[in-house]
């Protein structure tokens, strides 16, 4: 049989050769990062061109968003406004050029201020009257009525070449004034960026010379990639929690990695209640739901103590946030609310009925791990106050279709994010179904308040108006805030200076050094 074995070996060699030719024609070793090589490998969830975060590496915004959500200078260095917020004069930074050498001037700024707001949820476009170019570095912007949120919203305007965008809000020429230049790009796979050596903000000149942007769509794979050292950092280019909560404690325990959880920035996961029709049209049912959810329990169990429980719509860091949490967990009150509406458990199955009808909610959530876990949690939690939940986990598109058709009682929704005023402008005065459930424009007063806070420039007025808004929302319960999902990034421990940026979508690498 010895010959047989020899033949086998031969056979295997042949087969290995065959595999070799088809399989690996030149695996290269390029992992030799010397101590000085400042190349950052980023593991990202989305294609480079489709997310907003990556754009901030190439394009500057007109103003900066600061810690307290107020605005600071950037390409717009100074601004003056008149008393009733109808006219703004913007001073632009001089001598800034795009990476291809073209000049940034008032004409370019004007184009961008007119072009981007539609795609960036900026309310000012609805009031904009005219933009006047005074000189190369000065613009005068006039509005039809007063609009106080203008400067804040300029932080969302990217500066692109006027010829670099198409008619649909897509960037076609990725030439910007920002800290990096796009060198190579492969759809859905990767991008390579090199430092813009002529970046105008010399104080913000990044230490990282090259960025390897790798697209890893699966969140588990991203975690594995950072654990195995394939990438240097994950979670950096997403404005939401970009890894399973369950993995965070494990990652924190890993000595090779650093985990940063941002207490100040992130989004509040809010569920929408269909207040226009169905069982949730009943005010008491909505209240009962909001009060019947033990958010501490939720975050400590299915969210692994990573997310923070909250019943606020907006973080307290926001100047005009709710003064205190209103819809706190209270089982007795929740049950009482249901009883007020005549719901009682008459047949002893633990589910309350009214007129012989069981109280059943159709909960539609889009299919992500977190949504499914939270969905099961809510199903269990609401059962305790006697509400039966028919949980439907649907793919993203089907979810949107269902929500848009109003075919739900409770659903995943969009958080109150971005600048709060713009959000209000988008969904605060709307009472129709959209991709994220139903708007918060529950009554005429709410619509008026929305209008007022967007146009006023007076903080005092805003504060008063916001208090009224919070009162309406807390009483009406058009949505249920559940938890605060922080931005988290995980990086190799040899990377220093990673930080979160107040501007939700911004990636700031100015202080980052690889040791």
């Amino acid at each position: 049989m010895k010959k047989g074995i020899r033949a086998l070996v031969l056979l295997m060699i042949v087969a290995v050769l065959v595999t070799g030719f088809t399989g690996c024609s030149g695996a290269s070793a390029k992992d030799e990062t010397s101590d000085v090589e400042q190349t950052l490998v980023v593991g990202a969830a989305k294609d480079f061109k489709s997310g907003s975060e990556p754009k901030t590496l190439i394009f500057d915004s007109l103003t900066d968003s600061l810690e307290d959500m107020s605005s600071g200078p950037r390409l717009v260095t100074e601004w003056e406004k008149n008393v009733d917020f109808t006219e703004y004069t913007l001073k632009l930074k001089e001598g800034v050029t795009f990476s291809n050498g073209e000049k940034f001037n008032a004409e370019v700024a004007k184009f961008n201020i007119e072009y981007w707001p539609v795609y960036r949820d900026c309310g000012y476009i609805k009031k904009l009257k005219s933009i006047e170019v005074i000189d190369d570095n000065t613009l005068k912007v006039s509005f039809n009525g007063s609009y106080g949120n203008f400067i804040d919203e300029l932080s969302k305007i990217w500066v692109t070449l006027p010829s670099g965008v198409d008619a649909k809000g897509n960037v076609v020429d990725w030439t910007g004034t920002g800290p990096y230049v796009l060198q190579e790009y492969q759809a859905d796979m990767s991008a390579t960026l090199v430092r813009n050596e002529t970046y105008w903000r010399t104080d913000k000149m990044p230490g990282i010379v090259k960025i390897d942007y790798k697209v890893i769509t699966d969140e588990n794979s991203r975690v594995m990639a950072v654990k195995s050292g394939d990438v240097d950092v994950i979670g950096l280019t997403e404005h939401y929690t970009a890894m399973p909560f369950a993995d965070v404690p494990d990652l924190q325990a890993n000595k090779d990695l650093q985990v940063s959880i941002c207490e100040d920035y992130g989004t509040i996961t809010t569920y929408s209640l269909n207040w226009a029709k169905g069982v949730c049209a009943d005010q008491n049912v909505r209240t009962a739901i909001a009060l019947g959810i033990d958010r501490d329990m939720l975050t400590s169990t299915v969210l692994y103590g990573v997310a923070e429980p909250t019943s606020r719509y907006v973080l307290p860091t926001y100047k005009f946030s709710q003064k205190e949490e209103a819809l706190k967990y209270d089982l007795t009150k929740a049950k009482a609310a249901l009883e007020t509406s005549g719901y009682k458990d008459t047949d002893g199955d633990g589910i309350v009925e009214k007129d012989g009808q069981k109280l059943t909610l159709k909960m539609v959530v889009s299919d992500t791990q977190v949504n499914r876990s939270v969905g099961v949690f809510l199903q269990d939690a609401l059962k305790k106050i006697g509400i039966e939940v028919d949980l439907q986990v649907l793919d993203a598109t089907t979810t949107k279709t269902a929500l848009k058709a109003g075919d739900f009682d409770m659903s995943t929704s969009h958080p109150w994010t971005g600048t709060v005023v713009s959000y209000l402008y988008w969904r605060g005065n709307s009472s129709v179904y959209d991709d994220y459930g139903i708007g918060y424009g529950v009554n005429e007063e709410m619509n008026n308040l929305t209008e007022t806070v967007s146009v006023t420039g007076d903080d005092k007025v805003r504060e008063e108006e916001f208090d009224k808004i919070w009162k309406i929302q807390n009483d009406f319960v058009a949505g249920v805030p559940l938890y605060f999902s922080q931005r988290i990034f995980v990086a190799q421990s040899n990377i220093e200076g990673l930080k979160f940026c107040p501007n939700t979508a911004e990636v700031d690498l100015s202080d980052v050094v690889i040791k």
Binding site: M1, N220, V223, M224, K227, P244, A246, D247, P249, D250, M297, S300, T301, V302, D367, Q369, R372, S373, G375, V376, F377, Q379, D380, L391, Q392, V393, L394, D395, T398
Partner: protein
């Protein structure tokens, strides 16, 4: 001289008994799982993501539910759906195969052509496309897989029908003036049933796998229904934190399918010991 040991008939028989016994135990656990494991849906957060232990053989999931009992619940759905799918596919395959084989000529040509077209699409992809049309859901999953599954049956039924069509008893029945429907129903149908039995058994395993794959991709069974593919999808989410969650469901799935396949092979060998059929 090489050393070897030929299993005697008795040993082989014993082995079949062992398999059948194992399969029987598993099937009992699966079919009666709601009664054997009534607590499988009870949430207990204090037992989140536990490692396998004496109490929880496969560990616990993120809601502290015992994975062992949930696996059998999940397999129950898989098995039930697979059986429904195979029943539908079998009926369609029987009708088309009988027609195709018996009628011959243009009808056969056309039906054969249809079978070829159906086989041009890989099952998973075609099923996903159909699910896209019909919308995600359990019913559509069953429809999609049935629509793709009948071809295998139709092919075998057709070739068997072709053989039986020329047999004396069929020719005799035809000569004595029996109608086509009568001959098909009374003479050919009972005879083609037996040859498709091994295939039908094997296809149950295939069905379970297909359902699991589609559910894993998110096109199959929808939560909160428990299904093995869906469960693996959930477990996969914890691959970093609790990799053991993948082991239990995987083992049970593989065991059930392997045993069903072994049963199918045994039936095939029993019926036709000469033919070492290579199923494709």
């Amino acid at each position: 001289m090489r050393k070897f040991k030929v299993k005697t008939k008795k040993q082989q028989k014993n082995l079949i008994w062992v398999w059948s016994g194992l399969l029987f135990i598993l099937l009992t656990l699966i079919i009666f799982s709601p009664y054997i494991f009534p607590e499988s849906n009870t949430i207990n957060y204090s037992l989140q993501l536990q490692k396998p232990s004496i109490l929880h053989w496969f560990g616990t999931d993120e809601f502290g539910r015992d994975l062992f009992s949930r696996v059998f619940n999940g397999m129950r759905t898989s098995l039930m759906y697979s059986l429904i799918i195979e029943a539908i596919a079998l009926i369609i395959g029987l009708i088309i195969g009988l027609l195709s084989g018996y009628m011959g000529g243009k009808v056969d040509g056309f039906l054969n052509y249809i079978m070829n077209v159906f086989q041009a699409f890989p099952t998973t992809i075609a099923a996903i496309a159909l699910i896209a049309v019909l919308g995600t859901g359990d019913t559509t999953l069953i429809i999609a897989l049935s629509v793709m599954g009948w071809v295998a049956y139709a092919r075998i039924v057709r070739s068997e029908t072709l053989i039986f069509k020329e047999r004396d008893f069929v020719l005799g029945a035809r000569a004595s003036g029996g109608s086509s429907a009568y001959i098909l129903g009374k003479h050919i149908f009972p005879n083609v049933l037996l040859p498709i039995l091994p295939l039908a058994t094997l296809m149950i395993g295939h069905g379970i796998m297909a359902i699991a794959s589609l559910s894993f991709l998110g096109f199959g069974v929808q939560p909160p229904n428990a299904e093995i593919g869906l469960m693996l999808k959930d477990s996969a989410m914890f691959i970093n934190r609790a990799p053991w969650l993948l082991v239990g469901p995987g083992i049970v799935l593989a065991m059930v399918v392997a045993l069903i396949n072994a049963l199918g092979d045994a039936i095939r060998d029993k019926m036709d010991p000469q033919k070492q059929m290579i199923e494709i």
